[in-house]
Structures are given as structure tokens and as C-alpha cells.
């Protein structure tokens, strides 16, 4: 099945710094989502982005489906951004998740 590779696996930032998280796919990207799993375990939708670019406040995402990758940008990071960021792709109903990027933002 489709493989999803996320990088980096871990990221430590000082508050206020910017970061870029990446997701690579081994097969076609159809229905890509980015999630943030907060320290309490809740998965929160960030973006549904099968292609193109979207922005929501300090976060933005870009998916280049033809090259099978997606990027999540976090600007002016805050301690509340800490947690694990997952990307997933859904194809024919079945979803595959990456292993996540663990982000720690220090005050």
C-alpha cells in the first residue's frame, strides 16, 4: 500500500521561530489532510488540502500532488503549537497516516 514519510521526526523550536514540516507519499495524493494531536491526545483538523495552498492564521499548507508531497508551515510558533503533526491520505476510502512530526516549542 501507499507509504507516507514525514520529516523531520522531531523538531524543537524557540517560541517565535518558523518551521516547515514535510510529508512525502509513495503513490498518488488524492485527499490529503494535516492534523495536530495535542498533548491530551485529541486530533484536530488543520487542513484538508488535496492540492494547492491554504492558509489559516499562522499556519499554511501546500500540496504538490504531481510530485507527491505536502508541506505544513508554522510561523511565529507558540508553546501551544507543541504536539504531534500528522498527515494522511485517503484513497478509495482507506486512509494512511504518517508516523508524525513531534514539535516542541520552548518559551
Amino acid at each position: 500500500g501507499i507509504q507516507v514519510e514525514q520529516s523531520p521526526p522531531d523538531l524543537i523550536l524557540q517560541e517565535g521561530a518558523n518551521s516547515t514540516l514535510r510529508c512525502n507519499f509513495s503513490d498518488s495524493v488524492n485527499n490529503l489532510q494535516w492534523f495536530h494531536q495535542n498533548p491530551w491526545g485529541q486530533l484536530i483538523n488543520l487542513f484538508y488540502i488535496p492540492s494547492g495552498t491554504k492558509q489559516n492564521g499562522r499556519l499554511s499548507a501546500t500540496t504538490v500532488a504531481t510530485e507527491r508531497y505536502s508541506l505544513l508551515y508554522i510561523s511565529s510558533s507558540q508553546t501551544t503549537d507543541s504536539g504531534v503533526y500528522f498527515c494522511s491520505n485517503t484513497n478509495a476510502g482507506k486512509s494512511t497516516f504518517g508516523d508524525g512530526t513531534t514539535l516542541t516549542v520552548k518559551p
Partner: protein
């Protein structure tokens, strides 16, 4: 509106017992997923329901695992004869269907098998 809800939030059971985990999807969502997340790991797909179609059970790890979705709404994941390796957080998600693919997750059930 109400999000996806799951119950119980925590379950501790003895090895060999059966457990049932419940998921209430967002009203009107036609698709429902179950995932398993072990400590510090990613999400492992278990099963997928779409409308009245036969579910995709390809992710169920053994025949001790089963799931039902009644009336196109509430779903129950059943684990029979639980083993210690079944300990994990079980997450449910629903999505609208009708050409919309974004998934919305519940808070999960933390299962501990002693």
C-alpha cells in the same frame, strides 16, 4: 454542532475478557473509521464503513476484532479475549461523504489490558 464522541474514555480490563468500544459520529456523516494508536506511534487503520456498503475490514489485526455500525450511525468495536498487546488508544473518525473527504476525530478510548 456536536463532534464525534466515544465511550468509555478509559477502559481497564483483564486479559481474556471481551470489551466493547462505542463511537457516535457527527450527525449526517456517512463514513466512519476506526484506528488504533499505540503509545508514541502513528495511527493504524482498522476498519472503514461507508453508507450501506460492506465495510473495509482489511486493517483488523485478528479475528478477535470486529465492528458493527447500526442504522448508519453509531458504531461498536468489539475485542474478544483481550490480550496485553491490545492496549492502545482506539480512535474513531467520521467524514461527511458526498465527495467530502475530511475526517473528524473523537477523543478516543484508552484501553489497558492487565
Amino acid at each position: 454542532g456536536a463532534g464525534v464522541s466515544q465511550s468509555p474514555s478509559n477502559k481497564v480490563t483483564e486479559k481474556g475478557k471481551d470489551v466493547e468500544l462505542r463511537c457516535d459520529p457527527i450527525s449526517g456523516h456517512t463514513a466512519l473509521y476506526w484506528y488504533r494508536q499505540s503509545l508514541g506511534q502513528g495511527l493504524e487503520f482498522l476498519i472503514y464503513f461507508q453508507g450501506n456498503s460492506a465495510p473495509d475490514k482489511s486493517g483488523l489485526p485478528s479475528d478477535r476484532f470486529s465492528a458493527e455500525r447500526t442504522g448508519g450511525s453509531v458504531s461498536t468495536l468489539t475485542i474478544q479475549r483481550t490480550q496485553q498487546e491490545d492496549s492502545a488508544v482506539y480512535l474513531c473518525a467520521s467524514r461527511p461523504g458526498q465527495g467530502r473527504f475530511e475526517q473528524y476525530f473523537g477523543p478516543g478510548t484508552r484501553l489497558t489490558v492487565t
